[in-house]
């Protein structure tokens, strides 16, 4: 088939049809009418991606295994020095912990520690769009994963389930532009909404009242407001505070606790006790 002889109108018609179908797909997907069809296509491909990911892991492990012995010895020496340093820090922290424990016990009198139900999931892929931040995990709706469930790793909050298929789910990372999480600062107790900076940007909490004195290094936790995330999950640390006295609010730049590039296993929190906000649903005086 010689495409140079193809009539121009057929070429334009092909392009127009493809563009039309693509726009139709976008609209159907945005309105949520494509989920079942997508699940049908995505599940087998996700299974192949999961299998490939596991093979790549094994291959990478095999390559990393027989490393140079000298490098290993240097690493041991470095780690030993690090252990000494950490032991000293640990002693100092124990003292702080004593005080903290006392305050925590008082705090816990008024609060029941919620028991979360967690589901372990393997990260099998990453967002194919370079401008978006999400991961694909090997658990889906058949495993009890639902849209909106929070996802964490051993180091802190990872994100929220965005879309599920029967055996896989897509998780929007907290660093994505679309992410906004009610957050609280550990020391100053300031609250705000943490926005993911997206590509090339930083996570930040905007519109913090100037009355709060925020210091770099403060831990950022989920506030639990809104009920979508459990309270007190570690998100990261404040690395910079943009405080201008001429303005009414200040802004904290946050570094995530999780290394998203190294994520392999995550936990989907399938059940937790959200903060009770029913008190606000009833009008006063009732």
């Amino acid at each position: 088939m010689n495409f140079n002889d193809t009539p121009q109108r057929i070429r334009w018609a092909t392009l127009a049809i493809l563009v039309g179908v693509a726009i139709l797909l976008s609209i159907l997907d945005t309105t949520g009418n494509l989920d079942a069809a997508l699940s049908f296509v995505q599940d087998p491909v996700a299974a192949v991606a999961g299998w490939t990911s596991a093979r790549v892991d094994s291959f990478a492990d095999a390559l990393a295994g027989p490393r140079d012995l000298r490098v290993a010895r240097e690493e041991i020496a470095r780690l030993q020095a690090r252990i000494d340093e950490l032991e000293r820090e640990n002693e100092e922290l124990r003292e702080v912990q004593g005080e903290y424990q006392l305050l925590l016990d008082l705090f816990n009198r008024a609060r029941q520690t919620p028991d979360y139900r967690r589901l372990t999931a393997q990260v099998i892929g990453r967002d194919t769009s370079p401008s978006l931040r999400s991961i694909i995990i090997d658990r889906g709706s058949d495993d009890g994963v639902r849209v909106g469930m929070p996802v964490e790793s051993a180091r802190g909050l990872v994100g929220q389930v965005f879309r599920t298929t029967a055996h896989a789910a897509q998780v929007v990372l907290i660093t994505d532009n679309a992410s906004s999480i009610p957050a609280r600062l550990g020391n100053s107790r300031a609250t705000g909404v943490l926005h993911g900076g997206g590509l090339g940007g930083s996570m930040s909490i905007d519109w913090i009242d100037l009355k709060y004195r925020i210091e770099p290094g403060e831990v950022v936790l989920t506030s639990g407001l809104g009920g979508k995330f459990p309270p007190d999950m570690v998100i990261g640390r404040v690395v910079e505070v943009e405080r201008r006295e001429a303005e009414l609010f200040q802004r904290a730049i946050v570094q995530p606790a999780v290394d998203f590039e190294a994520l392999e296993i995550v936990f989907v929190i399938t059940d937790f006790e959200p903060i009770d906000t029913d008190v606000f649903s009833a009008p006063p005086g009732n």
């Binding site: 088939m1 495409f3 140079n4 193809t6 057929i10 070429r11 092909t14 392009l15 493809l18 563009v19 179908v21 693509a22 726009i23 139709l24 797909l25 976008s26 159907l28 997907d29 945005t30 494509l34 997508l38 296509v41 995505q42 491909v45 996700a46 192949v48 991606a49 999961g50 490939t52 990911s53 790549v56 990478a60 099998i124 892929g125 990453r126 967002d127 194919t128 769009s129 370079p130 401008s131 978006l132 999400s134 694909i136 965005f162 879309r163 897509q170 929007v172 994505d176 532009n177 679309a178 997206g198 590509l199 090339g200 940007g201």
Partner: protein, 166 residues
């Protein structure tokens, strides 16, 4: 429509699996190249706008399966890029080295811009500066296109040799 459409589906499934599960683990200069996109561009430059557009649609479809972007946005971005570069290609003399590199850089920039446009249209907070920070990926694509282009060119010549007039 050509039979290559049927080849596009398995090729793009494979390329997308590699894109989501393997390539992010081996970034080049800190960037993850878009393998399905490179295949689309190479095929479009070899086989022309019609087949290029179909491959672009298929590639975009599978890419969007593993993205939070609305289904169809990547297809639109790829189709636009293919349409532009194949249109320019027809006006220029054939070249197997310089032009594929230039076309790929151009196509990458077009894709990024069109993606930004559609993502914003669907309410995503993507910014120009964020997309601009991805511009170096166009240079990476420019460097990687040559082996893929030559391979597709070779496949094309083997599978569909030029007709000989007697």
């Amino acid at each position: 429509m050509s039979n290559s459409v049927y080849v596009a589906v398995p090729v793009m499934v494979l390329a997308t699996v590699l894109q989501t599960a393997v390539l992010p683990r081996i970034p080049l200069f800190g960037l993850t190249p878009q393998l399905p996109f490179l295949i689309v561009i190479a095929w479009a430059l070899t086989r022309g706008p019609e087949e290029g557009a179909v491959w672009a649609f298929v590639a975009g479809f599978f890419m969007d399966l593993f993205s939070t972007a609305p289904m169809g946005t990547t297809s639109l971005a790829y189709i636009t890029a293919v349409a532009v570069i194949t249109w320019i290609q027809q006006a220029l003399p054939p070249s197997h080295v310089v032009l594929p590199v230039i076309f790929t850089i151009l196509a990458t920039l077009i894709t990024l811009f069109v993606s930004l446009l559609f993502l914003r249209l669907f309410g995503y907070q993507t910014t120009i500066s964020a997309v601009a920070s991805l511009a170096p990926i166009s240079l990476l694509h420019g460097g990687l296109i040559l082996p893929i282009y030559w391979l597709t060119h070779l496949i094309n010549r083997t599978v569909r040799p030029h007709p000989v007039q007697i």
